[in-house]
Symmetry: C2
Subunit: 321 residues, 2 copies
Amino acid sequence: MEKTSDLVERMLAGDRLALARLITQVENRSDLVPQIMQRVHPRTGRAYTVGITGPPGAGKSTVVDQLTVRLRAEGRSVGIVAVDPSSPFTGGAVLGDRIRMQSHTLDPDVFIRSMATRGNLGGLARATGDVVKLLDAFGKEWVLVETVGVGQTELDIIRQADTIVVVLVPESGDSIQTMKAGLMEVADIFAVNKADRDGADSLVTEIKFMVHLHHVSPASSSEIDWEVPVLAVQAQHGIGIEELLTEIRRHRTTLESSGALAARRQARRRAELKAILTEEFLRQVSRRLEPEGDLAETVERVVAGELDPYSAAAGILGRLD
Amino acid sequence: MEKTSDLVERMLAGDRLALARLITQVENRSDLVPQIMQRVHPRTGRAYTVGITGPPGAGKSTVVDQLTVRLRAEGRSVGIVAVDPSSPFTGGAVLGDRIRMQSHTLDPDVFIRSMATRGNLGGLARATGDVVKLLDAFGKEWVLVETVGVGQTELDIIRQADTIVVVLVPESGDSIQTMKAGLMEVADIFAVNKADRDGADSLVTEIKFMVHLHHVSPASSSEIDWEVPVLAVQAQHGIGIEELLTEIRRHRTTLESSGALAARRQARRRAELKAILTEEFLRQVSRRLEPEGDLAETVERVVAGELDPYSAAAGILGRLD
């Protein structure tokens, strides 16, 4: 197998195949991940990351596709990461969405990668963050991260973006209401897609009202003065995408000029360190918990119900110290 | 403040106020949690836990309420834990649901507790598991755990049940489709609620088909031979609840007679130990990462972007060893 350092060198020199291989390593959380990310680190921090989230069927992929068209028309290079953490069963849906983006597959300045959960939800947010860094180091000026839904994993994924766009469509249903509420907290920009549908206008009005309430509330002490814009778009017809990109850039400028971008990224690095510490700790301790490991006996006593897990954990952590 | 040991003694002697106080400690993940759970441990393992999950608006609370009525009519004691991890914004919805259960609040053999996320999603599944154990130790014969949705946290919560009931309602929408797919994996029993609505029959047929495909698939190597039953219920009118309870008991008997219940609980204890180890590790390391801690300098270098987080994590774990 090729040496990791060579693979990283080739990637940094612009080799797409090397990039794809590194992404696979990162996605599988291989033992080489720390080594890869250490080498890549000095080349990161230049890309601007936009997260696009919302319920399934909202047309997120089409929005991503159209944003890519606009950015490419300006000569910008684009990386796309599409993540579906909800279930292995829905993996097919993402792949279906990908097909719509085939218009970009021959464009060497667009790099698209789908990531689905492989039963390892915990590591998915971590893996996504590392893939974003690889695309950043590879030289992509814009990285678009698309993800579905509003669970903890999805929030962990989307919070790694600099600007977060929430895409909604006019649709009833309690579950959408719940999602909307959850997404309120993370949205920097709302895009109401399929704006020609019945109910789109009232949805725009409703979200504007929610945003306004949220904005004036003294509890929402955001680091910048930014009232979340609510746009009506029809991504399939390219309508409203120019305005969306303008708002994304306005948000970027606001973050940059206020120093909030630097603050956000610093907070992200702090959270990242904790997540990696946890991942590495579990990786190390898991080996020792295996049947051949030195902690196996304690595990067996817990499994049999003889020992409570808190006492066991205290004992194990005492031995690790 | 009262000594923890006294509080536990009083709880084990049947004091509901002591139970409520201990639950609050557990919910807030106080430093006393290990001590509480160690003392409670010998008295656990007798309750049978039923998880009730499904999308918002499916009528889960009404199902829980009606199951409670039936169990109480048989003289069984019941503990109820209702968890809404989706968002702090929806906390109100759960409280609204609780009001419907007020018929039981004067019944000393029913204990109801709502839990909402307080910004600490990671600990919520752990906290729920511990609350179930407290109710178990308190002597509740049945513990019903109700939770919304299908994210990772919700799955972590619901997987702590012995039997899992998924409640659905006839409703269109892509997001429901996604949920259905995610819930397929965990359901031991499906209940289609509001079965008098349009579309209920076809939903029952559809789920039966999905269940059948899943059951015959060689990939689904379940530890027991159990084809997931799909019931039509109208919880609000008490229709189909008797049958639901019969199926829950049939599932319980199947698990018990095959030895699968013991195996499930052992697997759960193993997962629990890992979760507690992680929680305790993070609690310990977090203190050292604080500005006054001995690892603060490393953190600052990561936050400033000077040091990559993987190198930092390796360094920190090396020092902990």
